[in-house]
């Protein structure tokens, strides 16, 4: 999933079942911040890019408030794993596993994502 940050013209793609669904240009993702995208079934995904260029995708819905806002949270690294903190009540979610770091019983869906 890592790629050279300079590469242009790359598209961000998300795996839905067996197909890759194209979302946007890679340049639309600023390192350290997220964006939200709409999926064909009406659900929403939050996409992030870290400073090394790695991409992550999780469900955009914050399970604690119900609002579709995870893409607007602050990201960071905790014990070498990337996370996003919900902008509403600040619970953190692991971007790889979707697990909530502040409440073991909660988890959000994750997606496979690539740039090409």
């Amino acid at each position: 999933m890592t790629l050279a940050p300079e590469t242009t013209d790359l598209k961000v793609q998300l795996r839905l079942d067996t197909d890759w669904f194209t979302i946007c240009d890679l340049t639309a993702l600023a390192p350290g911040r997220g964006v939200a995208a709409l999926l064909p079934d009406g659900s929403q995904v939050a996409l992030f890019r870290d400073r090394n260029g790695t991409l992550y995708a999780i469900d955009n819905r914050d399970p604690f408030s119900g609002a579709a806002v995870l893409s607007r949270g602050l990201t960071g690294t905790h014990q070498d794993r990337p996370f996003v903190a919900s902008p509403l009540l600040k619970q953190r979610f692991d971007l790889i596993s979707g697990r909530c770091l502040d409440d073991e019983s909660v988890r959000v869906a994750t997606y496979e994502v690539r740039a090409r």
Partner: protein, 868 residues
Amino acid sequence: MTSNPRVVPTIVLVGHGMVGQRFLEALAERGLTATHRVVVLCEEPRPAYDRVQLTSYFSGRTPEELSLTDAAFITDHGIELYVGDPAETIDRATKTVTARSGLTVEYDTLVLATGSYPFVPPVPGKDSDGCFVYRTIEDLLAIEAYAGSRATTGAVVGGGLLGLEAAGALKGLGLATHIVEFAPRLMPVQVDEGGGAALLRTIEDMGLTVHTGTGTQEILAGADGAVTGMKLSDGSELATDIVVFSAGVRPRDQLARDCGLTVGERGGITVDDRCRTVADPHVFAIGECALASDGRVYGLVAPGYEQAETAAAAIAADESDQPTFTGADLSTKLKLLGVDVASFGDAHGTAEDCLDVVYSDARAGLYKKLVIARDGTLLGGILIGDADAYGTLRAFTGSVPPVAPESLVLPAGAGESVQLGPSALPDEAIVCSCHNVSKGTIRGAVTDHSCATVPEVKKCTKAGTGCGSCVKVLGQLVTAELEASGVEVDKGLCGCFTQTREELYEIVLALRINSYQDLLDRYGREGARGGDGCEVCKPTVASVIASLAPTIGASGYVLDGEQASLQDSNDHFLANLQKNGSYSVVPRIPGGEITPEKLIVIGEVARDFGLYTKITGGQRIDLFGARVEQLPLIWARLVDAGFESGHAYGKALRTVKSCVGQTWCRYGVQDSVRMAIDLELRYRGLRSPHKLKSAVSGCARECAEAQSKDFGVIATASGWNLYVGGNGGATPRHADLLAQDLSDAELVRLIDRFLMFYIRTADRLERTSVWLERLPGGLDHVRDVVVEDSLGICEELESLMAAHVANYADEWATTINDPEKLGRFVSFVNAPDTPDPVVGFVPERDQIKPDLPLLTIGHRPLEGSAQR
């Protein structure tokens, strides 16, 4: 219906209140949940919750947050919990309990933890609509619902501990509140006459009306059956819409009476010192329903917890560990209506020959009394208004403290006062009386179990997890122990930096570092370098960079380059995120002054975009319900009409409120509006460790409430007085007078220095009030630095502020003129024209409010979190 045949011995618990839950935890700790079937009958519609903290509902705690039971605990231990299904009969011959639903369970051991019920005196009219008791979450919700529809005034019958709690609830609902107490003082059980007087004064100062030495004779109701008032024993009538009875509690022992268990003359199920009922060795009673072997019923949670432990140990029949319950200490520390009240040990001085040491300052609402034996042994005491010393004093009770007792009750700064740290306590001293944890055990948690933080020690020892009154002492002990064992206490900002915010500020300023990544990679902790930082240090460094921008060569625009990725979510969208994902918009209205034309523009914008409109507490107007893609369109209109960002989203200057002042007001002595506008325009956009608020009043009547602000200005005949460190909010603080009779120029210069000194030295999210109290030397030190220039830094502080003022630009105007930045204001990167479908609104009072049911769309039950 009889539930599953028994294969293992069964324990049935009746009542899932605070003590019942503690009992279940004690069973689990002793492994009894693995060897027994455990069945719980819970009458209330929800599992155990923190009754002690009931009133915190009015400061924003939800019923869910009050819960004491997590679903995993119940499932992991295989406990069968029947919520909303009370026990109705007990048959001791067949050893069965039958619940309301018809469920019948056979028990080997039965534990009654049914608590108590509020006593309602038999006064005429007590059943009218609008009469309540206050014990459960359901009571609280019912009072709230009733008050919301019709009430402006409420009265509490009873001025004891629970009466004051109930009064706090009525006050929390915004009602004019009365307390009617039969005894000649408030809290007659816990405090003496002097304490009662201090309490009375403080409570009256809060705007509550107290009637002591007065009985309630009748509740008066209107034709519709709803309360209209009450008749008092002095012949007067009190008009009120709500009456809450809080005249004591009675043990809930009916179930026990019905099945022939022995109960005391004045109620309570009679038990022995193992909490076993005297009538039946298979039945136990614990908590407020039990009459202990010392002949008392305990109405506090700590003794109940001790009984829960005792009963669990007796059931485990663990010979090596057989605690008994033969009575308990009635020490309590409470925050009632925001006033600290504590009593411990022999508070009323009943021991023979004992002496009192009293410090009292009625003006400050302080009353402190220690009861001392002839030989100097501390026997007990009462603390009203300031109970900081409670944790230490309670632990010293029964021994001779190492310093003179009077020095323990004098207020800080009164010469002789001594802060007796917990290091002076002996190892056997009980620090946490809820869970009976000694100082030695806490030290052991740090040294032998390598707990390095208060949460770890809490988990390890349970100390601090009851009423919470010992947590302060706990924190001091943990730090002292860590320092003693040579561990360096980590004062770092977060997991990424070992430095404090103040140290990072100095690094950024001295080395002119204007990139977060640069700072992290050079000065971050070993493992954090090269990483992505975290949600704590990113906005903190963003704020430091923003407040120093012109000086360190960074862009003054917070959405420029790397800075955009560091900002808190609200700053990133230059608006305030609301619960459903929409935003609110607050244009700046300097000093609260606005022309009719501008008011009309705000009205038109709100109307055209369908926004909910409200006047804020900061003398300006908030427009709610904007979708993210509407923000630039709204701001294009506002900027066009001459508005700027109000920074309601930023840790930055918010508002400078004003009163109308000399121009119109007959009392005004200076032009407070002009000064407020000047100050607001000077400091707008200034990023700081926390938000900054200010106000200017035109005379000493103080209509602008300047003394509750971070910096407040009050006009005098010859100039301005400057106050600093004030705060509203959860922990209000009156501002301190920094300097008097200043000219306009002197005032501005001092504020420049004060603000820049604060920005330089405060911790993240530390308001000026907290900062001022934390700084060694406090106000005097700040005065030395900013008035006397004792550190020789004033010139630098002033030039930093001058650079900020010269470089200010409105960030919304910059944003709407930058097409690249505007691209960010969409709900979906791949469907810029589609709005977020879960942001919706429904009508209320001719405006809109968030459509919350929409937020449940896409909700999936999560594994492991199901509640039975």
